[in-house]
């Protein structure tokens, strides 16, 4: 119905442009914005704090420096950038020299640049063609980070990168940005690149968007020569990507709400390209989730460590249903009580099996306090945050919320669980609605044998 669009409560989770500009950009002080707006300053600070960044080949502040630079010493694989450009404007990515004397270079977009062309482009940058209000600018020549083999077959042009949005030191959303021919090898959605949402818990892609609003279900795989579902692409080194993003915000604390662009180098791991103090909002489309809802959740949490930040991202914002194969084919049926296996260590044998009660009246699952302590789930890094609540007697109380990984019917679920007092109850674990997505619940007592027979007869 037409009027459905006016059901505004459904939109509450999304961060809108007005809200971003009015409320959340205030978390970035002018000092922080100054750093983020200059790629040179960002680079300096991050290098100081030991965050890996793309290698600098040269930096020009004056036209004379451009002219006297020995361009033919470059072998290819470099990027020319304006230090204060925005939205990927004015960036030329050179792949290789096309002749022996290195006088002509081929860009990622397939354009041929002579050295004269490159010099002119640098002069344009210096005169402020790509900077805000045409202010004079600086040129950075950086080494091009080569495409990670994992992404080799998703684009012919440019290097895919990962954008992580960090708020209050917690990674809240991420996407894989894949350049297209339309975007000229640049990974900005604004220019027409593809964005694939990433599940923060597993590092698997989820949904897709092209440009600023075209929904994508499938992406062309160059080797298989066919369309593949956008979900289920595994991002390598996912943990260290999240940790690097956390490190960037630690290094620039004056930025409270920030989009961090990283590329994966085969040898060096995640390399920070750019820090964005006004991250775009299309990331919500390819994750099919709202930024605002997530940001409000972590707003008051005091992040203690890198480990804590990663746990928060994983257990609060991880997808309930994994996108392993891109598609979930069937919905398993569960009864009103089920046995679950809780992860208590990295090894396969370190699982605790427990009977859990299914309760669709509760939103979040809960676990008995004593039992959780026994399993070691109340360790400092594993306690996500403390929840204030008012008990039925009107007393203010505080209870921890912990991250728990468990298996139900063979399906892995990573989730945030309330710690409650269940010692007088028969089941130590209660399965809430939040973790029951993708399951069918059978309310009557199971009569498995009969059911199977019926199905068999039908098949014949």
């Amino acid at each position: 119905m037409f009027w459905e669009i006016f059901n505004l409560s459904k939109y509450k989770q999304f961060l809108t442009k007005n809200e971003r500009n009015k409320l959340y950009l205030r978390k970035n002080s002018s000092k922080g914005r100054l750093i983020a707006d200059s790629k040179w300053r960002t680079k300096q600070i991050l290098m100081e704090k030991g965050v890996s960044v793309a290698k600098l080949i040269a930096r020009f502040k004056k036209i004379e420096e451009v002219r006297s630079f020995n361009w033919s010493q470059l072998l290819g694989n470099f990027v020319i950038k304006p230090a204060s450009g925005f939205g990927g404007e004015g960036i030329v990515i050179i792949r290789k020299a096309t002749d022996k004397n290195r006088t002509r270079f081929k860009s990622m977009a397939g354009k041929i640049y002579t050295i004269e062309d490159l010099k002119m482009h640098c002069e344009d940058i210096l005169s402020g063609k790509y900077s805000l209000h045409s202010a004079p600018d600086m040129v950075l020549v950086e080494e091009r980070v080569k495409i990670h083999p994992k992404f080799l077959y998703y684009t012919k042009v440019g290097t895919p990168d990962v954008r992580v949005i960090v708020y209050n030191q917690v990674p809240v959303m991420a996407m894989l940005r894949i350049p297209t021919e339309e975007s000229g090898g640049r990974a900005n959605l604004e220019q027409g690149a593809i964005g694939l949402g990433i599940d923060l818990a597993s590092g698997l892609t989820t949904f897709g968007v092209r440009g600023k609003g075209e929904i994508m279900e499938e992406i062309y795989h160059l080797k298989l020569k066919k369309l593949k579902p956008v979900g289920g692409i595994k991002i390598p080194e996912w943990k260290s990507i999240l940790d690097t993003a956390f490190g960037v915000q630690k290094a620039i604390p004056s930025l409270g709400f920030v989009g961090i662009d990283l590329v994966l180098d085969k040898e060096r791991g995640p390399v920070v390209l750019e820090v964005n103090s006004r991250p775009g909002l299309s990331i919500q489309l390819c994750n099919r989730a709202g930024l605002k809802g997530r940001m409000e959740k972590v707003e008051d949490i005091e992040v203690k460590s890198m480990e804590h930040a990663r746990q928060l991202a994983k257990y609060l914002f991880g997808e309930r249903i994994k996108f392993e194969e891109g598609l979930i084919k069937e919905k398993p049926t569960i009864g009103h009580t089920e046995r679950i296996r809780i992860k208590i260590g990295p090894k396969r044998s370190q699982r605790a099996e427990v009977r859990a009660k299914v309760d669709t009246g509760a939103w979040r699952s809960s676990i008995d306090g004593e039992f959780a302590k026994e399993l070691g789930l109340l360790k400092e890094d594993n306690v996500l945050y403390h929840r204030h609540y008012r008990s039925s007697l009107g007393v203010e109380k505080e209870r921890p919320v912990v991250g728990v990984t468990f298996w139900l019917q063979g399906r892995k679920i990573e989730t945030a669980v309330n710690v409650a007092n269940r010692n007088k109850l028969r089941t130590k674990f209660l399965l809430g609605r939040r973790d029951l997505k993708g399951f069918l619940i059978r309310t009557a007592s199971p009569e498995k044998t009969k059911m199977k027979k019926v199905i068999k007869i039908k098949k014949k």
Binding site: I5, K17, N18, K129, G213, L285, A289
Partner: protein
């Protein structure tokens, strides 16, 4: 509640556009070229009409709250052009509408000032004349850009040569329209031409640095906002009002801008954008 106010204001805007629009292009005789040619320009005609309107109203006595209105009347009696006053006082009104349409509806142009400027330009050239002028300047800028890129000049000299092309083209258009007698832009002063050039430059620049799509949508947005603005400025009742009761109009400007300035909700266009992010 907040959302309802937003919707209401949007409806109000649309009504203004719908009602004011026809007046801007062809609804009244002002823009029809023949009459302007007979009576010597849009401005003269507008001035005559406004003076007539004012003569029907009695000169108010000074009551304190109406200082501004009283001053306006006094100035006109002393020979200040009422057209200038109307345009001056309506400029913030147009800017208000542009900001309302931007923050609440979600139509974006090149900044907020550009649409207001183009609106004034439309007022001087008439909507058809203005669009024709803009189309010509844009075409010259694009074709000129292609030629100049081959010459590999520095950025600013290239823009100067482009300006030369535009100057010649506009001159040609003036000469052509004068001899063909379809649309008359002979009377056009340099300022509307200048604003159109700035808009065309913005288009070319955005196309180069961002993308063709962005350039197209921003230019269309600017023109749309400018058309709405021109419609508002051509609204005769509003013109009369702003001369007789400038206090009320300006107070309204402040009130609406305070509201829009604090508006943190959705833009109307964002509804359909985020609708795509719902999970089935």
């Amino acid at each position: 509640m907040r959302q309802y106010i937003g919707t209401f204001l949007v409806m109000l805007c649309l009504i203004v556009i719908v009602a004011g629009g026809p007046m801007a292009w062809g609804g009244n005789s002002e823009i029809v070229p023949n009459s302007t040619r007979l009576e010597g320009g849009i401005e003269r005609q507008m001035e005559n009409r406004l003076r007539e309107d004012l003569n029907l109203e009695k000169m108010p006595s000074w009551k304190g709250w109406n200082t501004l209105g009283y001053g306006v009347r006094l100035a006109i009696e002393n020979g200040v052009s009422p057209v200038t006053i109307v345009l001056l006082l309506l400029l913030p009104v147009v800017a208000t509408m542009v900001s309302l349409l931007h923050y609440v509806v979600g139509i974006s142009g090149f900044g907020s000032f550009m649409p207001s400027m183009i609106a004034v330009a439309f007022l001087a050239t008439g909507v058809y004349g203005g669009l024709l002028l803009f189309a010509l300047i844009l075409m010259i800028s694009i074709v000129g850009g292609v030629i100049l890129r081959k010459l590999k000049l520095h950025y600013w000299p290239a823009r100067s040569i482009n300006l030369l092309f535009i100057g010649l083209g506009t001159f040609g258009l003036m000469w052509l329209t004068a001899s063909v007698e379809i649309l008359d832009i002979r009377q056009v002063s340099i300022f509307p031409v200048l604003t159109m050039i700035v808009l065309a430059e913005d288009f070319v620049r955005t196309q180069l640095t961002k993308s063709k799509k962005a350039a197209r949508s921003l230019t269309l947005g600017t023109l749309l906002l400018a058309l709405a603005g021109a419609g508002l400025m051509q609204w005769q009742a509003l013109q009369r009002w702003v001369l007789l009761y400038p206090e009320i109009v300006l107070l309204l400007v402040i009130v609406i801008n305070m509201w829009v300035g604090n508006y943190g909700g959705m833009r109307l266009t964002e509804l359909s954008r985020f609708k795509k992010a719902f999970r089935k």
